[in-house]
């Protein structure tokens, strides 16, 4: 089944997805949304609020099977997910939360992860004793500890201060690069997408589909302001061409 020499990629091909509204009608959220993500690369989904990004992630992670189309996960299909909210078990400590999500992680794995994410001092704390930023880092640690075949992140850095968001973004970049995990990240921020992804997928407003794919040269490497501006111009050009 796998393409020669490599691991299977993430294949998403959704014909349609609708929700029933309370009044009985159907609201179409996704239509003809398709993309593939090569094994070991990072894809960023960027789109307006409410366009259906979380809905799409729920379909990919198997939480919602009420759609038409198909989704093929990378080999083995082991998932690591960071939800839009931390979703930790409040009655278990930080360390227990990570271990319950990733029972196969070794002590050495956890030590390394907690160090990288600045959580070493909080291992025995309960989620109620953490700040939101710390809780988000625990959610990241849990998703990484799984050693997933597909890592899925739903706006993991939203509502954090800029410095912390940048720091976590760098940590994520390091982890993803060193382990070559196939990763799909949803974000509002084009800068964040450019900073992390091999490929940026631009989504339309609802019903959402992929309007353009922008490959990023030298992903996750430092860029000058000029290079950044060039990528921004490229994205604006793609979007502009489409709107004509």
């Amino acid at each position: 089944m796998s393409p020669a020499g490599g691991l299977r990629q993430l294949d998403v091909s959704i014909k349609g997805k609708s929700y029933r509204s309370a009044s009985g009608g159907a609201i179409e959220v996704l239509r003809e949304l398709a993309f593939t993500l090569k094994a070991g690369t990072v894809g960023a989904l960027v789109g307006p609020s409410g366009c259906g990004k979380t809905t799409l992630l729920r379909i990919i992670t198997g939480l919602d099977s009420d759609y038409t189309g198909s989704v093929h996960l990378p080999d083995h299909g082991k998932l690591g997910m960071v939800f839009q909210e931390p979703r930790l078990l409040p009655w278990r400590t930080v360390e227990q939360n990570v271990r319950l999500g990733a029972p196969e992680a070794t002590d050495a794995d956890l030590d390394a992860l907690f160090d990288a994410l600045g959580l070493a001092a909080h291992r025995r704390h309960f989620p109620g004793e953490l700040s939101l930023g710390q809780a988000r880092r625990v959610a990241l640690a849990r998703a990484f500890a799984v050693k997933p075949d597909l890592l899925v992140l739903d706006e993991p850095f939203v509502s954090l201060d800029a410095a912390l968001a940048k720091h976590l973004q760098d940590e994520l970049a390091v982890l993803v690069t060193s382990r070559r995990i196939t990763t799909l990240i949803v974000t509002h921020s084009i800068d964040e997408a450019i900073g992390l992804a091999d490929r940026v997928f631009l989504l339309s407003a609802s019903p959402a589909h992929v309007i353009a794919e922008v490959p990023i040269a030298r992903p996750r490497e430092p860029r000058t302001a000029e290079e950044l501006a060039k990528i921004h111009r490229e994205i604006a050009r793609v979007l502009g061409k489409l709107s004509k």
Binding site: G62, L63, K78, F83, R92, L100, G101, G128, R142
Partner: protein, 248 residues
């Protein structure tokens, strides 16, 4: 302060009892010292331990059965609308059936046996456990459920680390009200059809108008239940709620 005020209230109770017995006379209301002596006699002869043990065993078995079954059914009804609609009329019927009717029917149908006694008590506690746990199951967090699903947590992990902790406050409430309900019903069951236990002893004392013995056994049993509440139920509750942030 806390201990002192409790102690004071307790001393007040004993004093009121003493005064009451002076007014009503030893036959109607024997004083604290008479009852204490009777309690001591029963304890020395071994009768107290024997009957207390028999009653406690029934309380424990009936309580465990009712809680286990009540939790399972409560979760089921709380999570499935169909189950709720199907089982709700039964639940309402059971809730409104007088305890005495259940006990008498159990004895009539199954004879004056231990099984009949236990089943009758458990059936009396069951609907209350179901209703409480169902409330908890309706309030379960769907987001945590989804998290458990995405991370492929095993059934056991979900039960122990996701489900039970969410139900803990409801299980605690059911335990509290359950223990006191169960021991009261066990006494009636023993009075009506068992050859031992605190209820049986109180029945004998009633036939002899022996108020001293009635009070001695009642007090002994209340003390035991108080000890269970203080040294078993409360520590467990503290342990399972240790994660809640403490007010500064």
């Amino acid at each position: 302060m806390n201990v002192a005020s409790r102690l004071f209230s307790l001393i007040l109770l004993v004093a009121a009892w003493y005064a009451g017995s002076e007014v009503a006379g030893e036959r109607m209301l024997p004083g604290p010292q008479t009852v204490a002596l009777a309690l001591w006699d029963e304890a020395r002869s071994g009768a107290l331990a024997f009957h207390l043990g028999a009653t406690l065993l029934r309380v424990t078995v009936a309580f465990v059965i009712a809680m286990a079954l009540g939790t399972a059914l409560g979760v089921w009804m709380g999570r499935s609308r169909l189950a709720d609609r199907l089982a709700d009329p039964w639940l309402v019927a059971l809730l409104n059936l007088p305890a005495l009717v259940i006990i008498v029917l159990a004895y009539v149908w199954a004879g004056l046996t231990e099984t009949a006694a236990i089943v009758a008590v458990a059936l009396n506690k069951l609907p209350n456990a179901i209703v409480t746990v169902r409330e908890g199951a309706r309030a379960l967090d769907r987001e945590l459920d989804e998290m458990a699903h995405v991370f492929r947590m095993s059934r056991w992990v979900r039960l122990r680390h996701v489900l039970i902790p969410q139900l803990a406050p409801y299980l605690a409430a059911a335990t509290r009200s359950g223990l006191s309900l169960v021991w009261k019903i066990v006494l009636i069951v023993e009075l009506l059809g068992r050859p031992n236990g605190v209820g049986f002893e109180i029945g004998i004392a009633f036939q002899l108008f022996d108020v001293t013995r009635i009070l001695a056994y009642a007090i002994a049993f209340v003390l035991v239940m108080l000890a269970i509440e203080t040294f078993l139920v409360q520590p467990i509750e503290r342990h399972v709620s240790r994660w809640r942030p403490k007010a500064a």
